[in-house]
Symmetry: C2
Subunit: 154 residues, 2 copies
């Protein structure tokens, strides 16, 4: 099963970029994993029209037939073990590709939320979208080590 | 109010060390923040006696009179806003120092759990203890920006 992470704008902090790269390279030992960086348009923070147009960019980038997971604080929380079982389940259902959408600082547009097959929340706490990227890749890597019965997840 | 983070063993990933340093330096613009690194003893992973002796090291390092927050996946989850309000509340109660205990890969001993004034969970997901360190410092920094009514938390 192929996993693709779609996000808007470059990561600002160097250590988070390094973290994403580190976990992505570990994850690729287990499965196909792609990151697609979409170009963020210049905009005033909090502007609704910008959230909508960013949403359009994300939606247009979803590969045909992919299962859509949208990262959102109001989403469902999983334990690492439950996320690992969810991936197993998708595989058994014949899902070929899962696409993860991480929004900008003002969150997702309603059309993105509606397009979600799953709304996933990493924590009740708010993280920056850059931090969310790194945590998601780390959790995908962890999910595959759990599937493989390996040590890292402890 | 002074915050002190107690943990065992050096951080293994360079990007997480950099992350901790980055958020710690931002947090120090708002409040006193100290990190105390305790020396991890060599041990076999999963050994109960090691968890207990690590627990003793942590407990001995708690400053007298400090409020004790133990990071544990079974603890209470807070939103970033709720953590910020909790810090306000501690300040109003006259708490002078809060001490945060992060355990090793096998978690905390029962004596550490019993010493906790608050068991705090960052997520239902399991993170490495190194990642937990970075996330906690980031959330403390975020809590202070929320208190100050600043932009970062969005």
């Amino acid at each position: 099963m192929k996993h693709e992470l779609l996000f808007l704008g470059k990561i600002k902090d160097k250590f988070l970029t390094e973290g994403v790269e580190e976990y992505a390279s570990r994850l690729r030992h287990y499965t196909s994993f792609y990151i697609t960086l979409l170009k963020e348009k210049g905009r005033a923070r909090g502007q609704q029209s910008a959230v909508d147009s960013e949403g359009m960019l994300l939606l247009q980038a979803i590969p045909t037939g992919a299962l859509v997971v949208v990262l959102d604080p109001r989403g469902k929380q999983f334990s690492s073990e439950a996320l690992s079982r969810q991936i197993d389940e998708w595989e058994m259902q014949g899902v070929k590709q899962v696409c993860y959408l991480i929004g900008g600082p003002d969150g997702h547009s309603s059309s993105v939320l509606q397009a979600a097959d799953l709304l996933l929340s990493l924590s009740q706490m708010t993280f920056t979208h850059d931090m969310t990227r790194m945590l998601l890749v780390e959790q995908l890597y962890r999910a595959y080590t759990i599937k493989a019965g390996e040590k890292y997840h402890k």
